[in-house]
Symmetry: C2
Subunit: 568 residues, 2 copies
């Protein structure tokens, strides 16, 4: 099954000209990568023997069930499914399947293992089946660009990071024309099933496809898999999205290193912005893993309706208190999406977009009179560099590019200014030097941790089982994750049960609500209980690099542990 | 010897109020950190039995030996020393020593192990000795701020990153008054020896101290140890400075992750700036470890007298060629100090400093007439944001802050502009999106690799042996590093042999010449041989995280291997 390795792990170059998008097969592997390929992937015990599917009670929706029912007449109300041991095969053993799969959106460590899981299911339980990988994300479905995934093709990607086996993309299947293209592709390939590996949007899309195929009496079933390092696609049955564990561990290693640097050097405040625009799960998890002096959680900022000045003052107050005990250093975590959580900033940006679109921005600054008082005050409070960024950098639609604002640098400047004031008032005598960091891309493609490797494999294997059992419109759900793998539960949850509607352009649009940090949840409460202690005393914790064997290698994320009720 | 751990590694809180600068003793350790503490530190076999010191021939200097001889009348010409096996003890076994040590300058993984090595030498060979750790760098010597290092104090730092055991600092002992303070401290503590763990400047300082103490017939001997992640303190006898190995592995892991991200996403050029201002060793080593598409080596840029436009064009040419084969992504490594290697940039900055100091910078731009033609042309070529940074951000002396220029962002903007031109000329049809990264602080304080852990321990143990044998003015030298530890050589090299003079303020000043990337050296030549292949074909190599056991854990840096003549 395994292609032969030469001693340095040099895969034989593939010159078959198959036009593959992957470069991996001609790559030279590092020792750790080679070692990981053969890392054992144990399955939950229910997947190791005969199983049958047991359906639970009918489901509803996360919100507005009536509207969801209208949007998904065929899918709405489906029960959740659970795999349970059985005395015999409940699925036809010689039923060969044709399954397509697609990776959708940003990368997350473990995606390749979902694919390995689906493939191995088919090998084990539906021999002779065919697995198609659509290339470059949903566009691959629409354009019918695919590769047949056989064991030689898949094998080198086992337990490897990245999505480069078939790559990913951010296109959406939205318009009637696009749905038609998708239909043509699944008909052409005669697909029994399609697995959509993606985040909230992609899984919403998966459900729309399932509804569409069913409404047209097509045989193609659709199963989703929960992917995103951001950790914001989860619910009771789907305890975590894959990739979160690995990404947070990579970031936490680096934060831990920076903490030791801060303490050794004694003169820098490190402002670390962490990926995760919509929700602050990554920031919270990294805080629980590393115990920084200050952590800003977007959801709290929003709930308390804090202003940028409030956030600045909170940081400044801690800096001043630390200076009083001669700690002129520290580590501060900031979620990438902080700005989006501050209502006054949203307001300012909306006003600026309006002004930039319709008015002349004069050098003299007369245009500022068009701002509301509150927005003008905020604008004047912003550092010059940020003011300019807001005015100059616009996206193709002429809008302010909020994503380009380097929040960590902005905060450093605002803290500097405020500290200068306090110095003049005589309430601060320390020294402040900020260092900015952004940890993002380096965490999305790391080698998956043992947890993500096994979790993804189970998600994929389970997705195969759900399709084989004739299920559609479900998201693969693996649970009981704080127990040993053998005891993990496997099943599927109705995608419509995760949905609510949003009003866009006068129409209801179904959305899987992003799971935000719950201020009443165990992870945030634990953090809130400890943060004052972390602020003034240095309780830095350095997890070190991900280890694949030995100490620490089997730990799961603090967030997950806490949410599952354990004492992390 | 080891303090007892509770199961989660929680060190008993120290409330003795000893005023220690360390926070480590009250820290909770991660599993990996705890595990590393007990990691075995094998010694070179010569250090395991009786040894004696054999002196080689007298030494000279790296340049201007006459001037070095004048500056160091007592130290100049000292032979290098080598430890060789002996039948009996050559040092008085009950000769108790009083030794001080100091960590100087920026952090490098392994510093704590140098200290452990010195301490263990004294425990093993000069029982009853006292080891003083000066706190906060050379300032600790001048102010006589120290802590007595006993085994309980040192133990928790074994194999741990950072310098937080006694912290570090960048002060220098330079003025007659400061030398006097140092003299007073070593007299007060009755020191037999002082170990200076630092980079080129600190080791120069160590030699000046050695000379000074000797000239005054003081008994205090001084030994240096080669520390810097930058890898620019090395010579034949000192094959590498410690910390380089760990830092490069941490950076290479992240670069490797970013490469997989680049290949999976297919739409970003990642510009990665790497720490290392004076020399490009880190960038070269990371390139050899990861095979990026483009790598800029400062020393080559300087040797070929390239302009910023040349560097931009080189990048743009590769981007254009890659676009032609549909690769609209890539990874580019840039040394932190790139700008310092470009003569025309230096010229422009010198002119700007002059203008900023003496002239009025008018909004209309008339001040630009004061620039030479070449500098004006370069200034106009720079992106607007960089122009503003050059004009606005000045250090306390009013000078342009070159270190603050984010070279990677500057290059992204210049590449964008140039590609836009080529698009209009019809010679480029790709898409270009740059992502910038700076990897620095997260690498300086990681858990030392097995190599750095063992190398540092041997450096420290050897430093103890040199002091015990009455040596002074040497730098601890451990060699034969591509062989197993048992076969490593141990000795000391005359610090004056590493020196040259520089003319400053009309006087000769001794300096240890920074070791730059040698364009004729094996590492650069290997890189130069392979870079075109890496540019157009993707030969990305992802080393993965540092592993402390199992595959890859015993590899040493490519630079070192190649310099030692091996085929890396």
């Amino acid at each position: 099954m395994a292609p032969s390795f030469v001693s340095n792990g040099n895969f034989a170059a593939d010159s078959s000209g198959s036009g593959t998008v992957t470069g991996r097969r001609t790559s030279v592997y590092s020792e750790i990568q080679i070692n990981r390929i053969d890392h054992d992937l144990p399955l939950p015990s229910v997947l190791k023997k005969h199983f049958k599917i047991v359906d639970g009670p009918g489901s509803s929706a996360a919100g507005n069930p009536d509207e969801i029912a209208k949007l998904f007449p065929n899918m709405f109300g489906q029960p959740s499914s659970k795999l349970v041991p059985s005395d015999s095969n409940t699925v036809v053993p010689d039923h060969k399947l044709k399954i397509g799969l697609v990776l959708s959106g940003g990368q997350a460590p473990g995606g390749h293992n979902v694919i390995s899981g689906i493939f191995d299911y088919l090998q084990d339980r539906a021999k002779g089946s065919t697995l198609y990988g659509f290339k470059g994300g949903p566009a691959g479905i629409m354009k019918c660009k695919y590769v047949v995934l056989d064991s030689d093709f898949i094998y080198p990607y086992r337990n490897q990071g990245g999505f480069d086996m078939i790559c990913s993309g951010r296109d959406k299947i939205e318009t009637p024309e696009q749905f038609k293209q998708a239909e043509e592709t699944v008909k052409k390939l005669d697909l029994d099933g399609l697995v959509v590996i993606g985040g909230d949007d992609s899984n919403t899309n998966a459900c729309l496809l399932a509804e569409n195929f069913r409404s047209k009496n097509m045989k193609t079933h659709v199963i989703g898999c929960p992917k995103t390092i951001d950790g914001d696609l989860k619910c009771k049955e789907v305890p975590i999205s894959f990739g979160f564990d690995t990404a947070c561990k990579i970031y936490s290693e680096m934060i831990g290193n920076v903490m030791i640097d801060a303490r050794s050097t004694g003169k820098y405040y490190h402002f670390v912005r962490l990926m995760g625009r919509a929700a602050s799960h990554i920031t919270l998890e990294c805080a629980l893993q590393t115990h920084p002096n200050i952590t800003i959680i977007g959801e709290e900022v929003a709930a308390k309706k804090l202003t940028l000045k409030d956030v600045t003052d909170y940081i400044v107050d801690v800096v001043v208190k630390r200076a009083a005990v001669n700690y002129n250093y520290g580590v501060i975590l900031i979620p990438e999406g902080l700005i989006d959580f501050i209502p006054e900033v949203q307001q300012l940006i909306a006003e600026l977009n309006e002004i930039l679109a319709h008015d002349i921005v004069d050098e003299g600054g007369l245009w500022k009179k068009k701002l509301t008082d509150q927005s003008l005050k905020l604008f004047e409070f912003l550092p010059k560099a940020i003011q300019e960024q807001l005015m100059l950098e616009r996206d193709p639609h002429g809008n302010v590019q909020v994503a380009k604002i380097e929040t960590e640098k902005m905060l450093i400047q605002m803290v500097e200014t405020e500290l200068e004031k306090r110095k003049q008032e005589g309430t601060y005598r320390g020294e402040f030097k900020g260092q900015s960091h952004f940890f993002g891309y380096e965490g999305r493609c790391g080698l998956p941790t043992n947890f993500d490797a096994m979790y993804c494999y189970a998600l994929g294997y389970g997705a195969g089982a759900l399709l084989h059992s004739g299920k559609t419109g479900l998201i693969s759900s693996v649970g009981n994750l704080s127990a040993p793998v053998e005891e993990w539960t496997v099943g599927g949850t109705a995608l419509t049960a995760l949905m609510d509607v949003e009003r866009r352009h006068g129409k209801f649009k179904p959305v899987i609500k992003k799971a935000m940090v719950e201020l009443e949840g165990a992870p945030f409460k634990k953090f809130a209980f400890l943060r004052d202690e972390w602020a003034l005393n240095n309780r830095y914790f350095s997890p070190g690099p991900i280890q694949f064997s030995g100490p620490g290698s089997d730990a799961i994320s603090r967030t997950l542990l806490l949410e599952l009720g354990a004492q992390a």
